[in-house]
């Protein structure tokens, strides 16, 4: 009888503990879970848009721009890629740079839309990077050739989950841009970088 009561007590404590600790365990899971859901959503949408033959090239580009603005934390990425020079820049330069950088991203990725040939995005899983960020792992499965490893760095922001970096086969796009931009800024300043990006946008959109 006594042992049975002890058993009940134990079960009660265990249940209480489970109830008490569940919220925190649940919250820890949601960051990665939310990131995974987000990337899955945009992945499905992107592949559907790319494969949709009824859409014109321009319509696809418009959708890509909307997608870039709504799913990427462009302010953070822009600030990151300017690195050490962000602080030195005036607020006018910062605003101007963010605008030009966004357009540069649009033009340099938009032309890849036309080269789509049946690739599919396979989302795998998500791991935690730090208290705000997770890494969603995926692979691009191609009709020919080996699959390409693609990781999405997703950050929890006030406006929900946002992508802050894309890592292709271990190569971070944000880091590559930062390294490249730093080299230009050290030679010709932030205004020089802005000019160069503007030139690049012009030549890319005219060709």
């Amino acid at each position: 009888m006594f042992t049975r009561r002890k058993f009940f007590q134990k079960t009660l404590i265990a249940t209480a503990m489970a109830v008490l600790f569940q919220p925190s365990a649940f919250a820890a899971e949601t960051k990665e879970q939310a990131a995974l859901t987000m990337v899955k959503g945009i992945g499905d949408e992107a592949v559907a848009t790319l494969a949709d033959k009824s859409l014109s090239e321009e319509q696809k580009q418009d959708r890509f721009e909307t997608f870039l603005d709504s799913s990427f934390d462009m302010k953070r990425i822009g600030r990151f890629v300017l690195g050490q020079y962000w602080r030195d820049a005036t607020s006018a330069e910062q605003t101007e740079f963010l605008k030009v950088f966004r357009d540069y991203m649009v033009t340099s990725y938009a032309e890849k839309i036309g080269s789509y040939s049946g690739e599919n995005l396979e989302i795998k899983d998500a791991t935690s990077l730090n208290d705000k960020e997770s890494l969603v792992h995926s692979v691009i499965v191609r009709p020919s050739g080996p699959p390409i490893k693609l990781d999405w760095r997703v950050r929890k922001t006030n406006d929900g989950e946002k992508i802050v970096d894309v890592i292709i086969e271990g190569i971070s796009m944000a880091q590559t841009h930062r390294s490249e931009f730093a080299s230009v800024v050290s030679q010709s300043g932030v205004d020089g970088l802005i000019k160069k990006l503007e030139e690049q946008i012009k030549t890319a959109s005219s060709s």
Binding site: K75, Q84, T90, T95, R153, G170, I171, Q175, V184, Q200
Partner: protein
Amino acid sequence: MGLRSKSSSLKASLTAIALLVAVSGCATPQQKDGKAVAVMYNEVYDPLEPMNRYFFDVNYALDALFLKPVAEMYRGVVPEPVRDSVTNFLTNLSQPIYLINNVLQGDLNGAGDNMGAFFTNTFLGVGGLFDVAKLNTPVEDMGQTFAKWGIQEGPYLVVPLLGPRTTRAAVGGVADYYLDPINYAARENDIDNVGIIRAAATGIDQRSRSIEALDEIEKNAIDFYAAIRSLYRQNRNNMILNGASNSTQLPNMSFDDDDEPVKKD
């Protein structure tokens, strides 16, 4: 002859290692003021940039004149299955040096794969022309081995004809050349130019597979040299980790004044 070449290759390896230690000794970058500055400085560590940019331009011109047209012709004329066999053959020739490096890195599973791939493909794959084993063995070189041993990567270099290298990888490449059993066997049997022919074939093979990728990088780059430098470094680090999770290497993307990114003055 055998003894002499052995001792000369030993001498060369020792010189190479001494050079590496000397370079990595003075390779510690000075801390400049500001954390962000120090981070960037470590990331691009390129004290010889003017010289590197010069050789980058030289290599670019040589590539445009010779390597790229040859690679394009090769891709246009030779059918894909044959080109695949060339790749397989060259990879198979590299398995012994991959194996040595895997052993030196303590990766015995990797070494086992190299052994399996080499014997299976040599005997069942007609001398390595066909990849029967399908073990997908990653490239292992002395530069990666040095990295596993904790040697610093040293300044970034653009080597004439060969292209981007960290100092560690450049010295590693020399060591690989002397350690490679295939080259050693060729020297022992007085077969000339094996190293050069192999290097040329590898160059054309790899170039023919990266025509579009490099064109695209160049087209989108606003500083092609800096873009290649960053891509090379990141790819090397990835190879050293054998594609394992690189999350620890990712840069920090949080800021002190996180909620107000745009400055107000």
